[in-house]
């Protein structure tokens, strides 16, 4: 009889204290934004002022939800692409999949810059090219619009994310479901419509809901493209309110309290959906996976997918590099449009070097610290019998639905309000902490999955041989989950490197990062310098992604 009992031993007092401390800390940092919002918004008339008297706030909420509609669209397109990539044997399939990964990792800001270069109403290359046609008299595209913002998100991030998120669900689908239908007499398209799509519909729906929640926290694209023409979303409006002199925290908190209620409501729905979805994937756990081999059309499919990757990755990157060498961003028709001055200026700027160092310290610190902290929390959640496990499990998931900008803002509030924390003000440590907290949900989740996969006997053997719980954790558990530690390090590293909205309130001149410097250049119309930083940041991301792939990064299977 093998009774797998997670509470397999009574914890000595020291571990009880340490474990309790860890749980308490998790509860504290995850609940902080909620408390701050509640305290901040509790004043009378704030809601009235925030929503009735201020039409910009109302429209910000409206635009946020309008723009979040990209999630269902991207879920559908992403599903089609993922299905083709995974289930059909097409030329260059592996390269395409890796390209999706790189696209997923690349920061949004540089990509936005290159789309400005292409679709700007005044100097966008595509607009100009089309206007040279005899019957086009006004620029057909405008990047500074709802359509422009949607386009950048869908092409550069939403679709690749969906491809990656939906991949595992498609892989887990037992092919025999489809084969039975074929034997019963359905054609391949009927099978897709009647069997594949309905079985995977819950997965697509959960993907869409998750994407919807994540969309509501988008910041830099909206700031760069929407703000100049008066299109505000929740996060850019919060940024605006809080960076006034003096900052209007009350209005920001009122706005946040509304968003928080909506987000939590959607998040609870999402939790319900995933619970049901887990059941569906267990049913289909056949590992019976086969690719279709088809004739000619595979070339057409491959070409179409390469076009998608070209639009979302190669083309923007190429334009970004071009932009970084331009005298005047977007103006190709002046006498000598290209120069290396931008690179010389940026690389010679002392702010660049300090930002680079700050970025690497932040990303490395958050990656290392995160990997260790998440593994401890996940281990306690999975294996210990500590009281309050279930609550902490739920709380560890909370940051997932809280927008980064709100996290940053509440952390700033806490630092300013409490004398104990004031030493953190503007320090790189505060940035590292906030990034670790922001990535807590995905880190702990991935860790939990991988710790559950370790047979508990491996740990029990070590205990019986004479190794205490700590010793067992460090010499048995950690080495066994080492591949996932690498994956989590990479994810947190890259997230911290590209993050803007979470850290923007917390950074000072001395803790300025590459991403923030890039944002600062971009919003102060120094798009050339911003493009230079964009190229550098992208290069770092690609190198890290390649290295991680080398060292056996297996994120695909885990997400």
């Amino acid at each position: 009889m093998s009774v797998v009992d997670s509470h397999w031993t009574a914890l000595p007092r020291l571990q009880l204290v340490l474990g309790g401390l860890t749980f308490g800390l998790v509860a504290l940092v995850t609940m902080a934004p909620v408390f701050v919002v509640i305290f901040g918004a509790v004043e009378a008339n704030v809601w009235h002022e925030a929503f009735i008297e201020n039409p910009i706030n109302r429209s910000a909420i409206g635009y946020s939800f309008l723009l979040a509609l990209r999630a269902p669209i991207a879920a559908f397109i992403g599903f089609l692409i993922a299905w083709l990539l995974i289930r059909v044997r097409i030329p260059g399939g592996r390269l395409l999949e890796f390209a999706m990964w790189v696209t997923f990792f690349i920061p949004l800001l540089p990509v936005t810059l290159s789309w400005i270069l292409l679709l700007h109403p005044r100097y966008g290359i595509i607009n100009k090219a089309l206007m040279s046609l005899p019957f086009v008299h006004s620029p057909p595209f405008n990047i500074n619009s709802v359509g422009g913002i949607l386009w950048v998100h869908i092409a550069a991030s939403s679709v690749p994310v969906m491809v990656i998120v939906l991949g595992p669900a498609i892989r887990q689908l037992d092919v025999s479901f489809e084969e039975v239908a074929r034997v019963c007499g359905s054609g391949p398209i009927a099978v897709f419509r009647h069997i594949t799509l309905p079985i995977l519909a819950p997965a697509i729906l959960t993907g869409a809901v998750a994407g919807f929640i994540k969309s509501l926290e988008a910041f830099e694209v909206e700031q760069l493209l929407g703000r100049p023409v008066g299109i505000f979303v929740y996060s850019t409006r919060i940024y605006d309110l809080a960076s006034w002199e003096p900052p209007n925290f009350k209005a920001a908190m009122a706005l946040s309290s509304f968003m928080l209620i909506v987000l939590l409501a959607i998040a609870v729905t999402y939790q319900r959906l995933t619970e049901r979805n887990e059941y569906a994937t267990i049913l289909g756990r056949g590992a019976n996976f086969r690719q279709f081999t088809i004739g000619r059309p595979r070339w057409a499919i491959s070409a179409a997918l390469f076009l998608v990757v070209a639009i979302s990755l190669f083309f923007p990157l190429f334009m970004l590099v071009c932009g970084s060498f331009m005298k005047l961003f977007g103006f190709f028709n002046i006498a000598t449009p290209f120069t290396t001055d931008n690179w010389r200026d940026v690389l010679g700027d002392p702010a660049f070097l300090s930002s680079l160092i700050n970025s690497l310290v932040l990303s490395g610190g958050a990656g290392l610290g995160g990997a260790l902290i998440y593994s401890i929390i996940a281990y306690l959640l999975v294996r210990s019998s500590l009281p309050g496990r279930r609550i902490v499990d739920l709380l560890a998931w909370l940051p997932w639905c809280i927008p980064g900008i709100l996290f940053g803002l509440s952390m700033l509030w806490l630092i300013l309000a409490s004398p104990i924390l004031s030493f953190l003000y503007g320090s790189i440590i505060s940035l590292i902490v906030i990034m670790i907290v922001a990535q807590l949900p995905i880190g702990v989740q991935m860790m939990k999955v991988s710790i559950r996969q370790i047979a508990v006997e491996l740990e029990q053997s070590s205990r019986i041989c004479g190794g205490g719980p700590m010793r067992t954790f460090f010499s048995i558990v950690l080495p066994l989950i080492q591949p996932i530690l690498v994956s989590i390090f990479v994810i947190v590293f890259i997230s911290a490197l590209r993050d803007i909205s979470t850290i923007i309130f917390l950074a000072s001149a001395k803790s300025q990062t590459l991403s923030l410097l890039m944002m600062q250049f971009a919003t102060s119309s120094n798009l050339e310098a911003s493009a230079v930083l964009g190229v550098i940041t992208t290069a770092i991301v690609v190198v890290v992604a390649l290295l991680a792939r080398r060292f056996g990064l297996q994120v695909t299977a885990q997400r």
């Binding site: 009889m1 093998s2 009992d5 397999w8 491996l458 053997s461 019986i464 004479g466 190794g467 719980p469």
Partner: protein, 375 residues
């Protein structure tokens, strides 16, 4: 049940290596282990034998410290390691026991040498001593030349031996084995069983062995505790458990049994049982226990029943007809229907037997090995 190891077990040492008293563990309201008590003396093997879910593995896990008892106490070498009443619960690492899991649990990220050496490293043993002890262990379990292999490169039997070496290397006071052979194929199981016994005798290790396989239990142990529904039904030497089963469960679980229903026929000196229209004699059954006319069940081991020809008829025979017959190469398996009843008896017979379905046969019963159970 508080049957302790019986007196012929008494080793010179008065103090048992393991003492378990009234041990209980409750899972979701059900008593997985129900007031179990036994002692294990130095150098002996006690086997917990029973079907899956009988509580044998849970008992072992309680001893190892992987579960906390809800009642009862456990002493190892006179040291109280767990007591529900006194709120004592030593963690596994402080109990100085060794454990081999059914799944081996050989750490996949360490070589064979590192796996075996790990317990010594924990004890901060000098590196040279570790090396020599590990190679001694590797020789003992016959894994010479495989020290640098990773577990994934080993067969199931080899991993098994790594797990055993790892559990023995630090000379634990008590070795716990949780169905260690059940994942091996049957030929390998026999071989490992012999090796295990050999190693146990050579090191004079004290062992608690958990299995559902009675052959393993018979060949390895000095004592067997047959468990069912969390309770020890009988505790005794292998031959005693086999020959003198204390309960119906033990009788049917350990070994094969032939059972026939009948009625007691009164007789002053010997108990006779009428089966259909035939009567068989018993020996060694106290006539006072059963009164005439009582319905009973007669049980015997298949090896105590012989198929005989009419001319070889002995005094204690019962007749029947062959209703089924299967050929197994080395033997025949017959199903015999006893005359005048619906009772069927399955027995095996010599391969040179020439019988066919429908033949009338006689079953000669060894009266001394016959047992009578009230219905």
């Amino acid at each position: 049940m508080s049957a302790l190891t019986n007196s012929n077990a008494a080793q010179p040492s008065p103090e048992p290596v393991l003492r378990v008293r009234n041990l209980s563990k409750i899972y979701r309201g059900a008593r997985a282990v129900d007031s179990v008590s036994f002692d294990v003396y130095a150098g002996t093997v006690l086997t917990l034998l029973g079907p899956s879910g009988c509580g044998k593995s849970t008992t072992l896990r309680l001893i190892a410290g992987l579960e906390q008892p809800d009642a009862g106490e456990i002493w190892i070498h006179g040291r109280l390691v767990a007591s529900a009443a006194r709120n004592v619960m030593l963690p596994p690492e402080q109990r100085r026991v060794g454990l081999v899991f059914q799944s081996y649990a050989v750490w996949p990220h360490m070589t064979v040498t590192a796996n075996i050496g790990y317990p010594l490293k924990l004890r901060r043993v000098d590196r040279n001593v570790v090396a020599s002890k590990v190679s001694e262990m590797i020789r003992l379990v016959k894994l010479e030349g495989l020290g640098d292999r990773m577990p994934a490169e080993l067969s199931g039997g080899q991993q098994q031996r790594v797990a055993l070496a790892r559990a023995l290397v630090y000379e634990p006071e008590l070795l716990l084995l949780d169905e260690p052979l059940s994942n091996l194929d049957s030929a390998l199981r026999k071989e490992m069983c012999t090796q295990l016994k050999d190693i146990q005798t050579r090191l004079a290790t004290t062992v608690v062995y958990v299995t559902h396989d009675q052959e393993e239990a018979m060949s390895l142990s000095n004592f067997i505790a047959v468990m069912n529904h969390g309770v020890v039904e009988q505790l005794g030497s292998p031959d005693r458990v086999y020959e003198q089963p204390a309960t119906v469960f033990v009788r049917d679980f350990v070994g094969r049994t032939i059972r026939l229903r009948g009625v007691i026929e009164g007789n002053a000196d010997r108990v006779r049982v009428r089966i259909g229209n035939q009567v068989i004699r018993t020996a060694g059954v106290d006539p006072d226990t059963f009164s005439s006319g009582v319905a009973v069940e007669v049980s015997m081991r298949p090896e105590d029943v012989k198929l005989v020809k009419e001319q070889d008829r002995s005094s204690n025979c019962i007749a029947g007809h062959i209703s089924e017959l299967s050929y197994y190469g080395d033997r025949f398996e017959f199903t015999v229907r006893i005359e005048g009843t619906d009772e069927q008896v399955a027995i095996s017979a010599d391969k040179r037997q020439h019988a066919s379905v429908g033949d009338r046969v006689l079953l000669s019963i060894d009266e001394t090995h016959l047992k009578i159970w009230p219905l």
